[in-house]
Amino acid sequence: MTPDEALSLDQLAIEQKFELEDLLDKGSLGEMCRSFESLFELPVRIYSSSGALLADTQGVPSLYRYLEKAKAGRRAVQDVATGVRRAEPLPGAPVLIEGVPGVLYQASLIEHEGRSLGRIILGPYTDDSQNEPPAALFDLVEELAGEGIAQEWANLPSLSSLAIGRLERHLRATLELLLFSGLKAHMASHMHMASVRESFRELSERNQKLKDAYERLKELDRLKSNFLATVSHELRTPLTSIIGYSEMLLEGIAGEVQEEQKEFVETIHEKGEQLLELIKSLLDLSKLESGTMSLHKVATTGDAIVKDVVSTLTPTAHKKGVYLLSASEADLPPMLADPERMRQVLINLTENALKFTPKGGSVTLSAVHKKEAASDMGGGGSVLMGAVRRSVIEFSVADTGIGISDAEKKRVFDAFYQVDSSSTREAGGTGLGLSIVQRLVDGHDGKISIEDNDPQGSVFIVTVPLKKPPTT
């Protein structure tokens, strides 16, 4: 039976859709019947309700073989089988059948809760009150002159009607016990399968729901990115006017500006620029998220980028009283990268480092050439992947600032996350920088990680492969 055809509990328990064959092991049933026969010397046959013979301890009795020697006897023996098969016992009311004259069978019903499952046939036997073969039996074998028939007759088991009744009840009770155990096992196995199937169905349903929810979230995420892109764009347009016109005011195009007015306009201009930077970051982030930012990768050298970043940010560092140092390896091999975006990565990291480093501290940038095992790209197969070592350029930005706790190291790359998110925090910023950095590094098939600096501060490490890895 395939699982799909498996019966339900109700079909088994209510409709009782099972056969004797389903509940009893044919081999064991045969053994039990043989044991019964050897104990009581009474042959047993068991039929299922469909008429299949499930157990039969009797061969052909020697009396029948004897009778078959005569024509009338042969016919009588042939009729025995039909007679036995046609017997229709009722629940609790066995039927007595006479096979050949004087030879008896008893048929009784095997039932389960009012439903017939099969029949037990006991016999052939003779009634113990009948000591000699009846005359009708002699008539069947007239031509054999009755020689030896008394001997064959005596070979049959002889039982009183009381004894046969007791044996029948005993056998039926035993069978019904076996049947009950069989039914129990049958139901348990069905229930087991049904439960597993039900659990599977339930899990599949949940998986589908999760999948749907995931798809919906992905769609929402896409919509959010689109929205961000559109809004940023729309915000930028009027802001450009604000910055432009405040610039013109400062240049005196619209006439002389008083000192105090100039101060105000300068503030408008400065804040406008800040706002523009923020909007640009947002736009970058949404472009990166939606995958619409294209990286123009060309052969780039890491130390050049480091030098550029250091020279750009030296005035800022100077203003803050922080030492900005570079410690790059000479003659770095060129890597395939978008120099403008890599510069943005290092600027962002360095600006961050400067922001969180107190006066008198230092920020050190470096770029070195390294070989790393590719196995930690994920996807398993480390025995194969571990052998492939890829060349990377490792950039690091080390500061002597306040440092980042282990718990926060995981979160700082989330968009809008701030380690100190209180409104009174000392350092400004939108919390977008690192998430943009993360995405730009991803765009270069690179990795970013944070380590602790000794004795204090953090080191941001960005590794970018020289070539595309084989897995992407």
Binding site: S8, D10, A13, I14, E15, E113, G114, F180, K184, S195
Partner: protein, 239 residues
């Protein structure tokens, strides 16, 4: 319910539901012990080695109505442990009536409620509504300490539609009453749906009286209903 017009047989499925270890199997065992020999079949328990119900217990009872209609009652329990939810769902499918066996201890209040919600959900999974299901609630384990007082149970019972019984299943107290009330509720529902009295000349009250007698209960169905905690007027419970 299954009706076989040819053999004039009706099979009714009753399910004992409730949280783990509330005494569902014990109820069936007590019922089995109470039933007279000719009406009960073997109690089948599919349990684990530690005697916890794994799939279900099944007690078959059969009675004959004066009209000649044979009524087979198949009384099931479900496994109470939370993890067997899918099995409970399978067992409760096609139920004609449900007896909810609750643990009377105050500490079990939440577990009872959770199991009741589970019953509702599992019925709904088969498109059946708890509100339309013939239902009896039993507060079992009255012999234990820290049980909810009878007055409180009665007060809460009056707010509900279903008859509520107190029981000590281990001693057989309240078991037969719960069962008879469930049978009565179920018969009312089946009668309404299938007009058994019209089709078969089936006399539900006489039938339940017959079952009560076979289970050794002295009294009429009205007595059974009057036994319910917080019963207001005779025979009106659950209308």
């Amino acid at each position: 319910m299954q009706l076989d017009f040819a053999t004039k047989e009706m099979t009714i499925k009753l399910v004992y539901y409730g949280p783990a270890l509330s005494g569902k199997t014990t109820n069936l065992q007590a019922l089995h012990a109470a039933a007279s020999g000719d009406s009960k079949g073997r109690l089948m328990t599919l349990d684990t080695r530690d005697d916890r119900t794994l799939f279900f217990d099944l007690l078959p009872l059969s009675f004959e109505d004066a009209s000649g209609l044979k009524v087979r009652l198949k009384v099931f329990t479900v496994p109470g442990q939370v993890i067997h939810s899918s099995t409970r769902r399978l067992v409760v499918q096609g139920a004609d009536g449900v007896a909810f066996i609750a643990d009377s201890r105050v500490a079990e209040t939440e577990t009872n409620a959770e199991s009741f919600v589970d019953l509702r959900d599992n019925l709904e999974a088969h498109g059946m509504l708890l509100g339309e299901m013939p239902l009896v609630i039993q507060f079992n384990k009255r012999d234990l300490p820290a049980v909810r007082p009878k007055d409180e149970v009665a007060e809460m019972a009056q707010a509900g539609r279903e008859p509520v019984y107190l029981a000590i299943a281990t001693q057989g107290d309240g078991v037969v009453e719960t069962f008879l009330a469930l049978l009565y509720q179920t018969w009312k529902r089946l009668e309404k749906e299938h007009t058994l009295s019209e089709k078969f000349g089936f006399d539900g009250r006489a039938f339940i009286a017959n079952v009560a007698e076979k289970l050794g209960f002295q009294g009429s169905i009205e007595d059974v209903l009057a036994h319910a905690v917080g019963a207001t007027s005779l025979g009106e419970v659950g209308e």
